[in-house]
Symmetry: C2
C-alpha cells in the first residue's frame, strides 16, 4: 500500500481523497467546492487508509531545525518556503523542490506610518521581495513542484498579472512548458513582460476573463496540462509559510492583527491556515486576528461581512489596485471561515485612501504595488473604529513590489491619478496630505544659486510623514 | 585623540586622510583622483596617527560569526551587507545602520545556459533581488549610513536609473531629504517611478547629464548636502560584500571567473576589492579572475584594454542596456587596476548578443535587466576564445531585476527591439535562436479543440534552451 503524507479534503462536503486522485479542475465531484490539503496531524481529519504515521518533531525541535537550515547551502534549505517543509509534506522527496529561493522576505518597522495611524508600532512583511516581485512565488514553488512529481509537461493559468509571472518563472526553472490565457483586446503589456521573459506562451482568447477560465477548465480535462489557477490547493500550502517565517522573525511572539489585502482571497486563507496549524500543533498559544481589506470597487467579501444573512454576491470589480480587482473570488468560502474562526474584521477603502497609503508607505523607503497599500489604509480605519488599539501589534502583508505597477506611481505624483470628482469628495485634511506627499519633478535652469534657494525653501517645510 | 577605524586613500597620489576630512566632492585636492576606503589591515597602508588597533578575529572565527548572525533578528544581522561588518568598519556604531535588509541574494545554477556556452557549470548571483531591484542597494546602505553619522539632512545624486531609486529608498528609510538631478527633455518616467515613490525630489535641469554632475559638484560645496554619485567611496564598501556572500554560498571554494557588466565600473572595482581583501587576510588562498563585459556601444574600458598603450578615451555611449550606457566611467582607474592585478579579461558584446543572452537567462526562470545579460553574452565569447575553459567555474553577476526594464522585454518578444539592419548582420544560427526564444502572444478563438491542436503542435518542438 502506498504511504501517503497528505490528502485533500473538500471544504464543502468534507470528503477526503488522496492528492493524486483529484479531478484535473480541482473541484469536488460531489459538491463542486474547492479542496484544502490536510495531513494526518490536521484538525478533524479522520484516519485515512494509507496515511503516513504522524511523527512530527516537537515544537522546540522544529523551531531549532528550521533555524539551523539557514546555515545550509542546499537550495531547499535556502528557500524561505521549503525550510518549513515538515508542515506541508506534499512531495515524496521534499528536499528536491523547484525553487528560486522564494520567501526570506523582510519584516520592516514603519515608525512614521504607525504615528500617522495612532499606533505604538506597525510592522510590514514585504512579500513583494520574492523573486518575481509578488507573494505568488511562495505558492507557485509548491504547486509547480507537485506538477513535476505528477509527471506533467505543461502547466497553465488564466491571469494577466502576478500569477502568470510566478507560474512562468517556476515552470521555466522546472523545464516545463507554460501557457497563459488572457482575454483578447486591451492588453496590459507591462504586466505580461515577465511571463514572456520567462518563456511562457501567451494566448489571447477572443472572449472575456470568465471565458478564459472556462476554456482552461475544459482544456485540462482534454489534455495533460496542470492547472495553476488559485483553485489549486497546493499553492496555498506554500502561501501559508510566510506565517511561520513571520513568527520566527517575531521570536514566536504572536502579533495581535495581521492585515491582508482581499482579492481572490487565497492569500488570507493560506495565512490563516498557517497560523491555525501552528496553534493546533502547540507551537503558538493563540492566533492573530486576520483582517481582510478590500477596495471599495471590488468588495464582495466586505458586502458578505456586512450582510446580516452572510450571503456572497459577486460584484463587477473596478479599482486601480489591479491585483485585487476581482468581483467573484474563488476562495471566498475559505477566507470567510478564517474571518469567522479567527475573529478578524473586514473593511473596505476608497481609491483615494489607497493612493495616500501607498505614498505614505513609500515615504518610509518601502515601495509596494497599490493592492498592498490597502492594508495601511485599512489599518487607519480599524484604529478609528476602535477595532485596532494603539498598543496592539499589527503586521501589514505587502503583497507586491512597487515595480509591478510603475504607471500608478507616476500618475499619482504627476497629479494625474485621481479624477477631479474623486478629489472633490476628499476632506481638506486629506487633500493637504496628498499635496505634501506628491513629488512631481521640477524644471529649473542649471543655476546653482537658484537650486540653493530652493533647498533652503524646502528646509522650512516639515517632512510629510 | 579620536580613534579612527578607517581612512581614505587617494588612488592617484596615495595620500591618506581621515574619512571625515574628505572634500565634499570626494576628489583629492592634490591630484583630483578618487579615494578608496582603507583600514589598518589594508595592504600597503602606512601607520596613520589615530588609527584603531587591528584586532580582527581569525578567519575561522569570522566565518562562524557571519554564519551565526543569520540566526539573529537584529536588522544589522539580517542584512546581507552588515552581517559582514568586520570588514568595512566605516561607522562608529556598526550595529545601527540604515538598512532595508539588502544582500542575501540568491545564487542560481543555470544548467541550460551552461550547456549553450559549453561549460560544465554556470552560476549566477542575482543582485537584482535587492530591495529596490538592483545591486546599488548594497552600496547605498553603506553610504547613507555614513551620511546620517556625519549629520547631513540632505543627500543628492545625478542619475535617471538604479542609483536614484536606491538613494531615494535609503534616504527615506533614514528620514533624510533626497534630491535627484536629471537633464531636462526626454524623461524616462518608468525609471523615475521608484524615486518618486520613495519621496525623493526630482529636479530637471536645463542642461545635459554632465551639466547635472557639474552643478551637483558645485552645490555640495555651497550647501550641506551629501554627494551619493559613484565617486562616494563608501558605496563601494557596501558593494564589495557580495564577494563575501558569494564565497559563503560556495562553501569558501573560490570560483575561477566572476563576470561583471562594465558601466561606470564601480561594481567590478568593489567586488575586486572584496576578493583581494579576503585574500590579503588569508580567508581565501587565491582570487578569481574578474572579467568585465561592456556593450559594444559603450566600451571605453574595452578600448583601453585593447590599446597597446592603455590610454583611456571617453566615448559617446549608445546601447539599449541603459544601466551601462556610460561613455566616461568615473571609476575606470579602479577597474583597470582590478583587471590588471587579478588577471581577468575585458570583452564587448553586441546588442543582438545581449538580447539573446537575456532571453536565454529568462528561459531558465531568472529575469534580469539587459545590462545584466551582457555577462552571459560575454561568457559565450570567452569560451570561444579559450579564455574560459569548459571545466572552470564561472559566476555571472546579474545586476538588476527584469522589472527594471519591462519595455525591453516586450519589444524583444514582439520582434520590435532589433532593427532590420541589425538582424541582417546576424548569422542564420543566431536568427533561429532568436526565433525559438521569442514569445509574442497568439490570438485565437476560444475554441478548446483549436487550443489542444496548438499544444500538440508545440509538443513536437524542442525547448529553446
Amino acid at each position: 500500500m502506498t504511504i501517503r503524507t497528505h490528502h485533500l479534503r473538500c471544504i464543502g462536503c468534507g470528503t477526503v481523497i488522496p492528492g493524486e486522485e483529484a479531478r484535473s479542475d480541482f473541484r469536488c465531484p460531489l459538491c463542486n467546492e474547492l479542496y484544502e490539503v490536510v495531513y494526518a496531524w490536521s484538525e478533524g481529519v479522520p484516519v485515512v487508509p494509507g496515511a503516513a504515521a504522524v511523527n512530527l518533531p516537537n515544537p522546540t525541535a522544529l523551531r531549532y531545525l528550521w533555524q539551523e537550515r539557514k546555515n545550509s547551502n542546499a537550495p531547499a534549505d535556502q528557500s524561505g518556503v521549503w525550510r518549513f517543509r515538515e508542515l506541508f509534506p506534499i512531495l515524496s522527496d521534499m528536499t528536491k523542490p523547484i525553487t528560486l529561493r522564494e520567501g526570506n522576505t523582510p519584516l520592516y518597522e514603519l515608525p512614521r506610518c504607525a504615528r500617522v495611524a495612532g499606533l505604538d508600532v506597525l510592522l510590514a512583511k514585504h512579500q513583494g521581495m520574492n523573486p518575481t516581485g509578488s507573494f505568488k512565488d511562495t505558492g507557485m514553488t509548491a504547486a509547480i513542484s507537485v506538477a513535476v512529481e505528477r509527471g506533467f509537461e505543461w502547466v497553465a493559468c488564466a491571469s494577466t498579472g502576478n500569477t502568470s509571472a510566478a507560474m512562468a518563472a517556476y515552470a521555466a526553472r522546472a523545464g516545463l512548458r507554460s501557457v497563459v490565457f488572457i482575454p483578447d483586446g486591451k492588453i496590459a503589456w507591462g504586466k505580461l513582460s515577465q511571463s514572456m521573459d520567462y518563456g511562457a506562451l501567451t494566448i489571447q482568447l477572443k472572449t472575456d476573463f470568465d471565458g478564459c477560465v472556462d476554456l482552461l477548465t475544459e482544456l485540462v480535462k482534454r489534455f495533460p496540462i496542470y492547472l495553476l489557477n488559485s483553485v489549486n490547493p497546493y499553492r496555498l500550502e506554500g502561501q501559508k509559510t510566510p506565517a511561520f517565517e513571520l513568527l520566527e522573525q517575531l521570536n514566536w511572539e504572536v502579533p495581535d492583527h495581521v492585515i491582508v489585502p482581499g482579492g481572490n482571497l487565497a492569500n488570507s486563507s493560506a495565512l490563516g491556515k498557517g497560523f491555525q496549524e501552528l496553534h493546533h500543533l502547540g507551537m503558538i498559544s493563540r492566533v492573530p486576528k486576520i483582517d481582510i481589506i478590500q477596495a471599495e470597487g471590488a468588495n464582495p467579501l466586505y458586502r458578505w461581512y456586512m450582510d446580516a444573512n452572510r450571503v456572497m454576491k459577486p460584484v463587477v470589480a473596478e479599482t486601480r489596485a489591479t491585483a485585487i480587482r476581482i468581483g467573484n473570488p474563488a476562495s471566498w468560502r475559505k477566507a470567510a471561515h478564517i474571518i469567522e474562526s479567527m475573529g478578524g474584521w473586514c473593511e473596505q477603502v476608497s481609491e483615494q485612501e489607497i493612493a495616500l497609503a501607498k505614498a505614505e508607505i513609500g515615504a518610509e523607503g518601502v515601495g509596494c504595488e497599490p493592492a498592498s497599500a490597502v492594508t495601511f489604509a485599512g489599518v487607519k480605519k480599524l484604529v478609528r473604529l476602535g477595532k485596532l488599539k494603539g498598543n496592539e501589534r499589527a503586521v501589514l502583508i505587502l503583497t507586491g513590489h512597487t515595480l509591478k505597477d510603475p504607471q500608478y506611481t507616476i500618475d499619482y505624483h504627476r497629479g494625474e491619478l485621481l479624477k477631479p470628482e474623486e478629489l472633490a469628495q476628499a476632506s481638506p485634511e486629506m487633500l493637504s496630505q496628498h499635496e505634501a506627499l506628491k513629488k512631481a519633478p521640477l524644471v529649473m535652469d542649471a543655476n546653482v544659486d537658484a537650486v540653493v534657494r530652493l533647498m533652503e525653501e524646502r528646509m522650512k517645510q516639515s517632512m510629510p510623514v
